[in-house]
Symmetry: C2
Subunit: 394 residues, 2 copies
Amino acid sequence: MGPLEGLKVIDLARFVAGPYCAMILADMGAEVIKVESGGGDSLRLYPPDLGGTSLNFHVMNRGKKGLSLDLRKPEGQAILKALVAEADVLVENFVPGTMEKMGCGWDELRAINPRLIMSRISGFGQDGPYAARPCFDSAAQAMSGLMDLTGPADGPPVLMGVFVCDHVAGLYSTIGVLAALQARERTGQGQMVDISLLESGASLLMTAIPNQILNGVTMGRNGARGRTVAPSNAFQAGDGRWVLILCGGDDMFARFLKAIDRLELLEDPRFASNAARVANLAATEAIVADWCARHDSAEIEAAMGRAGVPSAKIASVAEMVDNPQLRHRGFIVEIPQGGGVSLPMQGPVTRLSETPVTPRGPTPRAGEHTEAVLESWLGYDPGRIAELRRDGVV
Amino acid sequence: MGPLEGLKVIDLARFVAGPYCAMILADMGAEVIKVESGGGDSLRLYPPDLGGTSLNFHVMNRGKKGLSLDLRKPEGQAILKALVAEADVLVENFVPGTMEKMGCGWDELRAINPRLIMSRISGFGQDGPYAARPCFDSAAQAMSGLMDLTGPADGPPVLMGVFVCDHVAGLYSTIGVLAALQARERTGQGQMVDISLLESGASLLMTAIPNQILNGVTMGRNGARGRTVAPSNAFQAGDGRWVLILCGGDDMFARFLKAIDRLELLEDPRFASNAARVANLAATEAIVADWCARHDSAEIEAAMGRAGVPSAKIASVAEMVDNPQLRHRGFIVEIPQGGGVSLPMQGPVTRLSETPVTPRGPTPRAGEHTEAVLESWLGYDPGRIAELRRDGVV
């Protein structure tokens, strides 16, 4: 049994942040109903696809049940409210105000079900001057400062190569839902969770905010170089590959010098402490760069491994999928989709020793479980469902 | 009252991932005891500092209580076990095997307190061929494929400019703790949470894993360009600033063309659909680039805002701290540290409507609350504590 067995979740969300939150809840054993209105979640359409459904959609929606419901119709909204009466959690990531226009704002929904936990993810949060603006991950990366911190020191800003604000917002939303469940054990009441992509991005900034406000120091781009210790950078090996090497303290740097047979440099005051190495960055990095240029990446990784110095070849995705550690841990899961088709994707990160967190099933087709959900959640009979279908409500 | 009021947490962790998890629990009202052994958390030492403590440490440890305890001494280990008997949660991020060497592995601790939830964060997870390797955020970025996806398309890989694997691991750990608390409501038993930095990084890869395995397509670096829609890139404005503009669909692109007074381009088959625009990427981006070059960044942002096209000037941290939306939401909090000193930093992201999530106090000094914790958790009297202090145990 998963840790959230018995929990009933309505997933009204689209694209990444909200669906990712609901998928984690599904991996944990919750029953998650993916509600799709109109043409369904547009994420289904992005290339590349598997079996007519975008891989993007697959990796955000495994193990959910699909319910189609036209939320522009009053009858659709009434059914949503009936489902809310039965639910523990609702996740949505519309632009703020959208749920209110459907008569399904927080005040309406809590009146229907005081135990409901409603997690709302948006670009900028539910209130404030930007609340009604549309937002995507990249805009949040740009506005939060993340993008200005990412890229070569002498080049233009780049995006982090993945939807980091979306994912992190989904994780904060999951935390909010679970914390609200914990509070509900005590109070018997649900509550609203309010998550912003912009704040999710800005939460990753470590010291950048106090360093700016207190010290007037504006952090900038640093390529592959670490910000606090030296050496800490990507170095090019003799075979042309990039290898990351990081000496987090004097002991690690001494082990590094021993590994490259340059222990005499320990006597050089330029390298005697991290502060000295940071002050003599070019000379410090030159020691590592020279040695790396004379060795293949595999030799470097092996030597650093023996020396206990954190190091890693910068892996392509093609290499990462064969990483022996990820293989051992079974991180890449295969999810049967029916018809003999199996879909490999990243598995759950959160591992629990007693209540398994694991994918519960394939990606739903839009509306695949409409009948089953309306019957089991609301007790609708086939005749009533056929009528709703005829009227285009489901 | 916070959602986790009454929860007792032992934070044995150092650096970023574990301390961040424990800080989120503290923001939620848990009583979090930061245990520091020997010289204390090395993160205290990294520049820049405020009042002798690193800003890095400050942003990971607000609202905790400080307990000093020499975990290399058997008496220190015995006190840790006595604290474990009283705790709900323990968070640690040592290299796997370290807790076992102190006689405090999962089997030992669960025997002391079957209700304990022990969250263990490590570079690669608690088992497998890499388990005992040291790891830092950047090595996880390199090995997970994140780094190879980040940077200019024609340049070397760069780090995401922040400790993204550390933070994301801290979030997955928090999710694990909260899910285990939920399971404990049903079973009465605690469990172990096992989080890996490498898997935390790889979880952000969206379609990269299935696209590699199913289609043989190795995703690579893409600068500031989006991967699925066009136009979606950073464009240089007339004033030299970079502005991100993203048209997520045909409707948005039409609104964009209307805003720049080029609606006639809607008739051009090269721009008629997202697929067409992706196929004619250079021509599509040239339309945006030409227009941006003839306007200032502020004009561009305003015009896109009016048109409902997601857009954002790429903000420096100096600009971000003055963002009106973040100001309105009170995202940057000021935490009094005593002596009239106040520390600005990013506040909690997870907002709950009924049980506030909010910083609970300043950063502890190492061992600041040793007496208070030993008295309130274990009932030690001042004489016994003085003895422990004399013997160098606390």
